[in-house]
């Protein structure tokens, strides 16, 4: 596909003018658990699994819902609702992040835990899948309140986590500091330091070099492999990125270093568009100072919905799930959609993109760099021996390439879309592990 010529003197709004009226864009997010089950069913049907095997794969092994009472700074006690779900422990301990967000529900956590199972399996990591979350608005909470929330939540889920059982990691609105609090709470309760209980820790207490950039680095590799397979040149390709958190910002920076043109990015407060491309670092400085990317000098303001429909070569949804739906999929112009976020595309939208010959790098492959370096961190923590950042990056590249090539091969063999190919690989490995382990008793 040829590189699109930059458009002169065009505003973002003009560029994204869509044939359908904006009223068609649904703001209601699809239920992620239903989406996850629908995606799985497609694959278990395709692979011809019987009902028992399909139900085993669809059912989480363990769901723990907890109430988390926290004394707020003004003296009130507020009770938050939290969950930890272990979808699978068949290939190894459960692995997955913990998110703090007002929209967290048990259904969402179950879906995210299931996606973690397939992701770890696609990457061939010795893990099952898990996820956790607390329904809260962290942006309205002080650091002290967040620490008390994290520690109490940790103590509530403490019986089911541990380096051999279930290893949490950062996710939406949680970070290295959150992991340090979890590690400390767990360790104090055990009576000795247990660095292997979480990943994404600060470097000083056993974190891995390269972990902060790992999701983005993995995403970058998958984009490069996709371009190579699709015979597309890399120079000057236009990239739009929804979300400017850990994955979005670093993806922008790494791709910019490879001469890609980053033309748009966004946060929950809205997005920006610069037709000639922008310097991701300068936008990040502006974001850190002002709390939004909107208002960056020389940029047009766009909405998150408009960003998805921009005239670009590569679209990287790196925000939340359910962003590309049947309502806007037909208006997506990018040739490659690399899912930095978990579950940004609904199954209906997937079918539309596939029909239009747009290549989706599915989330369980595209953003698996994060969990892969989490795995490296866990290995280093268990061995108390630490690798150089270069070693981490080289090993990450090797595993990403191996997984991408395996998914591509299945896609070619089965002539299916890339998400189904990734699921065939991921679900197939878990099913095989179930078969080999057998059913107790």
């Amino acid at each position: 596909m040829p590189v699109k010529a930059p458009k002169q003197n065009k505003t973002a709004t003009a560029t994204v003018a869509a044939p359908a009226p904006a009223a068609h864009v649904s703001t209601e997010r699809p239920n992620p658990w239903k989406v996850a089950l629908q995606q799985l069913k497609q694959v278990t049907d395709l692979l011809g699994y019987d009902d028992g095997a399909a139900t085993m794969l669809a059912t989480p092994r363990k769901c723990l819902s907890v109430s988390v009472p926290v004394r707020m700074d003004d003296g009130r006690v507020e009770v938050f609702s939290g969950h930890r779900v272990q979808h699978s422990t068949t290939r190894g301990p459960a692995k997955g992040g913990i998110r703090f967000h007002p929209d967290v529900t048990l259904d969402e956590v179950k879906a995210l835990a299931m996606w973690m199972t397939w992701k770890c399996s696609v990457m061939n990591l010795p893990y099952g899948g898990g996820k956790g979350g607390i329904t809260c608005e962290p942006k309205a909470m002080s650091s002290g309140e967040l620490e008390r929330l994290t520690r109490r939540y940790t103590s509530e889920i403490l019986p089911i986590i541990g380096p051999e059982k279930d290893i949490p990691a950062p996710d939406v609105n949680t970070n290295a500091q959150t992991m340090a609090w979890i590690m400390d709470t767990f360790s104090v309760n055990k009576g000795y330091t247990v660095p292997g209980v979480v990943t994404g820790k600060p470097i000083q207490i056993g974190g891995s070099l390269g972990r902060d950039k790992a999701t983005a680095r993995g995403l970058m590799y998958t984009v490069l492999y996709a371009l190579k397979h699709l015979d597309m040149p890399t120079g000057g390709l236009r990239v739009a990125i929804q979300g400017y958190g850990n994955a979005g910002y670093w993806a922008a920076k790494l791709l910019h270093e490879l001469d890609f043109k980053i033309i748009a990015c966004s946060t929950s407060k809205g997005g920006i568009f610069v037709d000639r491309g922008f310097d991701p670092e300068a936008v990040n400085e502006h974001y850190q100072k002002s709390g939004a990317v909107v208002g960056f000098k020389g940029a047009d303001t766009i909405t998150n919905e408009e960003l998805l429909e921009l005239d670009c070569d590569i679209l990287l949804p790196c925000a939340l799930e359910g962003q590309i739906t049947q309502h806007n999929a037909a208006r997506i112009k990018a040739r490659i959609v690399g899912e930095g976020a978990n579950g940004p595309t609904t199954p209906e939208a997937d079918a539309i993109l596939h029909e239009n010959d747009q290549f989706v790098i599915p989330d369980i492959l595209a953003n698996a760099g994060g969990v892969t370096v989490s795995y490296f961190e866990w290995v280093q923590s268990l061995q108390n021996y630490f690798w150089s950042e270069r070693d981490v990056n080289l090993r990450l590249r090797e595993l990403m390439e191996r997984a991408f090539e395996a998914v591509w091969k299945i896609r070619e063999q089965r002539r299916c879309n890339s998400r189904i190919a990734a699921y065939v690989l991921g679900v197939g490995r878990v099913a095989e592990a179930h078969r080999l382990r057998g059913l107790y008793p």
């Binding site: 120079g235 001469d259 150089s388 270069r390």
Partner: protein, 108 residues
């Protein structure tokens, strides 16, 4: 950890490459004239034809490696067909015969 970089370059890039690498702290380089073909070389009757290149070898310590690689990428004509290749491999040890120093201190 020490790493060896083998650079296959267009001869016209060599002087500028030396100048830049010296600034980055690379204190030694060996160069040989080379002929070779690669995936992008011109073919005649289905046989890829040899082209004139230089092969430059340097050994650097890990702490400057990324910086050195970045400079090589910036200079070597990225995006240009036939710009060359870089191969990087670990070096177990280095020994300076005059002083019998070994490891990193032998190359700086």
């Amino acid at each position: 950890m020490l790493r060896k970089l083998e650079l296959f370059l267009m001869p016209s890039k060599l002087d500028k490459m030396r100048e830049t690498l010296i600034k980055k702290g690379v204190q030694g380089m060996s160069v040989v004239q080379a002929q070779g073909y690669g995936t992008r070389s011109k073919s005649r009757n289905g046989v890829p034809q040899f082209e004139e290149r230089v092969k430059a070898e340097i050994v650097v310590a890990d702490d400057i490696l990324d910086d050195v690689i970045r400079s090589i990428k910036d200079l070597a004509g990225a995006g240009q067909v036939g710009a060359g290749m870089v191969f990087i491999s670990p070096v177990e040890d280095a020994i300076r015969l005059s002083t019998r120093e070994s490891g990193k201190s032998a190359i700086v």
